[in-house]
């Protein structure tokens, strides 16, 4: 232990640790900036998007010290903390012959492994969480929710989205309308090439594959109009393959269904 204390007394170690602290603070500040950009278009609009943003914070803060330490050593070396030899000169002597350092190696590997382990565990738990609140691998008829979910069949084709509400007399629409705070489950397919159904501010995405049906889902928590974009290159007008998702109150949703010619079945 006294060796570690002695090591910490060395001037360059102290300076590098201070630089590490400063950079860590900057990285943590940047995580807020990142999430702010993610919310620029009105999100987060579902619990899934909340979880995603929380995860962005957690991942960044967890990795910040290690990133900062790396950049600190880099900075210290670059700024000549240990001296330097100008490009116009040539080195005249060798540096210290440090072939390895058992303590450093073990410490580094331990920290990296613990960090990786934490990231994995956090990620697995998060994935299970958002899967349980969306279709994911759980079929609709086994949801424990008390609110009856809205089922939507999403058909992607070159280059538009169509949404069908099978429970409401199979009405179709090119705009996705959903009632707030009601889980929505999506069966997604494609009529031609691979598209990707991305409901941006709700934080869900699933590919629309020809010849297969994929599933996703979310519960919108915010009223408003948000974006649906295609996230997989699908040809000429891929850039224009966008539509909107309108999250409205239950009454507005019911009247919209009636306007479209459907009947609310429950």
């Amino acid at each position: 232990m006294h060796l570690v204390k002695e090591w910490l007394q060395r001037p360059y170690v102290r300076r590098i640790l201070w630089i590490t602290v400063a950079i860590t603070a900057v990285i943590i500040a940047l995580s807020f900036v990142m999430v702010a950009f993610m919310n620029q278009s009105g999100g987060p609009a579902s619990s899934i998007m909340d979880e995603i943003e929380k995860t962005m914070f957690v991942l960044t803060i967890a990795c910040a010290p290690l990133m900062a330490a790396t950049l600190a050593v880099l900075t210290y070396s670059w700024w000549g903390g240990w001296g330097s030899v100008a490009a116009t000169d040539a080195p005249t002597e060798d540096g210290p012959g440090i072939k390895t350092n058992g303590v450093a190696v073990v410490t580094w590997i331990t920290i990296c492994s613990l960090l990786a382990g934490f990231l994995v565990v956090w990620g697995l738990v998060e994935l299970a969480t958002i899967t349980s609140s969306s279709y994911g691998s759980v079929p609709a008829n086994q949801q424990p929710n008390s609110v009856k979910p809205v089922d939507v069949n999403v058909t992607a084709q070159q280059w538009l989205w169509s949404f069908e509400y099978p429970d409401s007399g199979k009405i179709t629409s090119s705009v996705l309308v959903l009632p707030v705070n009601v889980p929505a489950y999506f069966n997604v397919t494609s009529l031609d090439v691979v598209h990707s159904f991305w409901v941006v501010e709700e934080g869900v995405k699933i590919d629309a594959n020809p010849g297969a049906i994929t599933n996703t889902g979310f519960t919108p928590t915010k009223l408003g109009t948000f974006n649906v974009r295609c996230a997989e290159l699908c040809g000429l007008h891929h850039a224009y393959m966008e539509t909107q998702v309108k999250v409205v109150t239950q009454e507005q949703f019911n009247s919209w269904i009636r306007e479209q010619g459907g009947n609310k079945t429950s």
Binding site: L59, M67, E126, T214
Partner: protein, 657 residues
């Protein structure tokens, strides 16, 4: 046991009968004959195929268009004709034919083919000398980067002109895909090609690679593969990203066939090159060069070659089967007839992921190779570096599904693949520790290769953290298919890969070319490009966070500002890269001549003359120590020892009294 044979002994080796003049058929072949032969054969194959498909189309057919895939079949056979004709015209078939007939190469044949005493002519021929092949790879790589870079400028121009469509969407979709695949190919070969071929055999203390004729074959197959790819833009384009996902690729016009033929050919080139590099490294290291004295660059190229060798056929077959769907009307990837898009995606990404390590590992190993020379300290924890390289090589095989989190292929598989993807960061971290440990308490010699290390580690840190984000499936649910992914992989492949390759090239340039790369203009180009790179791709992260999808030429006005900034940054990159190119060309012609040991290194290539003689070493070297034997005793350790001795001494004294 040394198998070194000095030159003068070879005259006594019994020779097979000399068939014709030394070199035989290869005396008459060169790039020009290959071009002519390729074009002529392409034409012949077209005509013959047209006749056959017209006949198959049945009575009343006037040309092959009567057959549904007739045009596709014609174009495919035309390109196949080009490749076969080109290779025949460069003399590639002479080797197998001579082997078949038992007319083995004599020593005189081998010397001719190695370009002994041949002057500039040897760079245009099927030359087996690994040094010539290395230079050929360097030139081809520069051309590919130039073309890919031009396409990048076009892409950024379109994205910057937010008020209009500069190109029509089909052309735009084609140039992003072509830019992608050209850059990927260029990055795969940028270090294994020039440095792997030129330097690695010398660094191992050998006279040439294990299979010299395969060496020439691999470069000329690459050359043959390029025109089909580039010609796609003249034939309707590929209208798809570099991943050419099916079934969209099936909708593309005949330009797609150029892509497919290019990849099928390039896969052979890469496979052959990998076989050569692996065998050379494993079997031809100098006497005394045990595995614990082998330079880390050699390990890096070995690891990269293993990955390429094992996984490239997956990509190759994905394109063969796609081509089959197009020409034979099979349905591997046509869902209505029993095909599966997920099959394509799996085959693609089974290579697609190891491929990024094929790109990053040599660049990283190259920097680990020369960093000790510039701080004059040993490589920190050499064994950890080797473990890191092979940890990445091993784990790279089991992470590919993270490119497919959002495909809905097998949602349960997202869990184990998220685990494996996080795990691969651990061996990667070994390599970071080795860099930091080598840099620690060292006095950097501020030449361009050293400065490149700082640039690359910075880029790696940013690429790394954004990779952590993307590896997390929930976050990927937002980020996949957005510009965030594009910025991430540019930070890794270009930021760490390309800028690393520029540093490694600057380091080995004196040994390969005989002159130093111009320090001033090289640095100006490098740092200009680096500054532009930060501007372009940091801004691109913002666009991705805001929700901009990738591969779109028009978008929501929310993303305008970040795209304007990225475009300005891209033009700065372009200027910087042009300056760097100028530095390369000017130094090649008029640079400061380099001595035998340009940087004071301790690896074997520094113990032969510059320029390197034809046989590499007059007498093959015997290695007696590791390559990173720098360093004076550590003053802190000496102080510690002194304190310990004093303490023990004091204890002894007090024990005695």
């Amino acid at each position: 046991m040394s198998t070194a044979v000095a030159i003068h002994e070879e005259a006594h080796v019994p020779q097979p009968k000399q068939v014709g003049r030394p070199g035989g058929f290869l005396r008459r072949t060169n790039f020009l004959t290959a071009l002519i032969s390729g074009v002529v054969t392409a034409g012949v194959f077209w005509v013959v195929t047209d006749k056959i498909t017209t006949a198959v189309a049945g009575a009343g057919a006037t040309n092959s268009m009567a057959l549904p895939s007739g045009l596709n079949i014609n174009i495919t056979m035309m390109y196949i004709g080009w490749v076969i004709g080109f290779m025949a015209g460069i003399g590639a078939f002479a080797g197998p034919i001579r082997w078949f007939l038992g007319h083995d190469l004599t020593h005189a044949d081998a010397e001719y083919m190695a370009g002994k005493d041949m002057g500039r002519e040897k760079f245009w021929k099927f030359t087996t000398d690994h040094k010539v092949v290395g230079i050929q790879y360097l030139v081809v790589t520069l051309i590919l980067f130039g073309f890919g870079g031009l396409l990048a400028m076009l892409i950024r121009t379109e994205l910057g002109a937010t008020w209009t469509e500069v190109f029509n969407p089909n052309f735009y979709n084609s140039i992003i895909g072509t830019h992608g695949i050209v850059m990927v190919i260029a990055m795969i070969i940028v270090i294994s090609g020039p440095i792997g071929n030129f330097i690695v055999p010398i660094m191992c203390g050998a006279r040439d690679m294990a299979f010299p004729r395969l060496n020439a074959l691999s470069i000329w197959l690459l050359v043959a593969a390029v025109p089909p790819l580039v010609s796609n833009l003249l034939m309707g384009g590929i209208r798809d990203g570099w991943t050419v996902y099916q079934p969209l690729a099936d909708q593309a016009p005949i330009g797609m066939i150029g892509y497919q033929i290019c990849i099928i050919t390039f896969a052979f080139s890469t496979g052959i090159a990998s076989v050569n590099l692996i065998t050379t490294i494993v079997r031809m290291r100098a006497a005394g060069m045990t595995w614990s004295r082998t330079p880390i660059l050699v390990y890096g190229i070995l690891g990269s070659s293993i990955m390429g060798l094992v996984w490239f056929p997956m990509y190759q077959y994905s394109q063969i089967l796609a081509l089959s769907d197009r020409t034979l009307l099979t349905s591997f990837f046509v869902p209505a007839s029993g095909g599966s898009v997920w099959l394509y995606e799996n085959l693609f990404w089974l290579l697609g992921h190891p491929e990024v390590y094929v790109i990053v590992i040599p660049a990283t190993a190259g920097m680990l190779e020369y960093l000790p020379v510039f701080v004059r300290k040993p490589l920190f924890s050499y064994r950890l570096a080797v473990a890191g390289i092979f940890g990445v090589v091993g784990l790279s095989a089991v992470v590919w599904v993270h490119h497919m989190y959002m495909t809905g292929w097998a949602p349960q598989s997202n869990y184990p693949f998220m685990l494996s993807t996080e795990m691969i960061s651990i061996p990667f971290s070994f390599l970071v520790l080795v860099v930091l440990g080598t840099m620690w308490r060292g006095k950097p010699w501020k030449r361009l290769p050293m400065m490149a290390v700082y640039a690359v580690v910075w880029n790696k840190v940013i690429g790394g953290i954004t990779g952590v984000f993307l590896s997390d499936t929930p976050v990927d649910q937002y980020m996949h298919g957005s510009m965030f992914v594009v910025a991430h992989f540019h930070y890794m492949l270009m930021g760490a890969g390309l800028f690393g390759a520029m540093g490694v090239t600057a380091y080995f340039f004196p040994k390969m070319i005989g002159r130093y790369l111009d320090e001033f203009w090289g640095s100006v180009g490098f740092w200009t490009a680096f500054a532009g790179f930060q501007v372009t791709f940091m801004s691109m992260f913002v666009a991705g966070l805001q929700g901009m999808p990738r591969r779109v030429l028009q978008f929501d006005s929310l993303f305008n500002i970040s795209n304007w900034i990225s475009t300005i940054g891209a033009y700065i990159i372009g200027i910087g890269m042009l300056i760097f190119l100028y530095a390369i060309i000017e130094s090649w012609r008029n640079g400061i001549p380099a001595p035998d040991n340009p940087w004071g290194g301790k690896t074997l290539e520094n113990f032969t003359t510059t320029p390197v003689p034809h046989e590499n070493f007059p007498v093959l070297p015997v290695v007696t120590s590791g390559p990173y034997d720098f360093g004076t005793p550590d003053p802190y350790e000496l102080a510690d020892d002194a304190i310990m001795q004093q303490t023990e001494g004091a204890e002894k004294v007090s024990a005695q009294s």
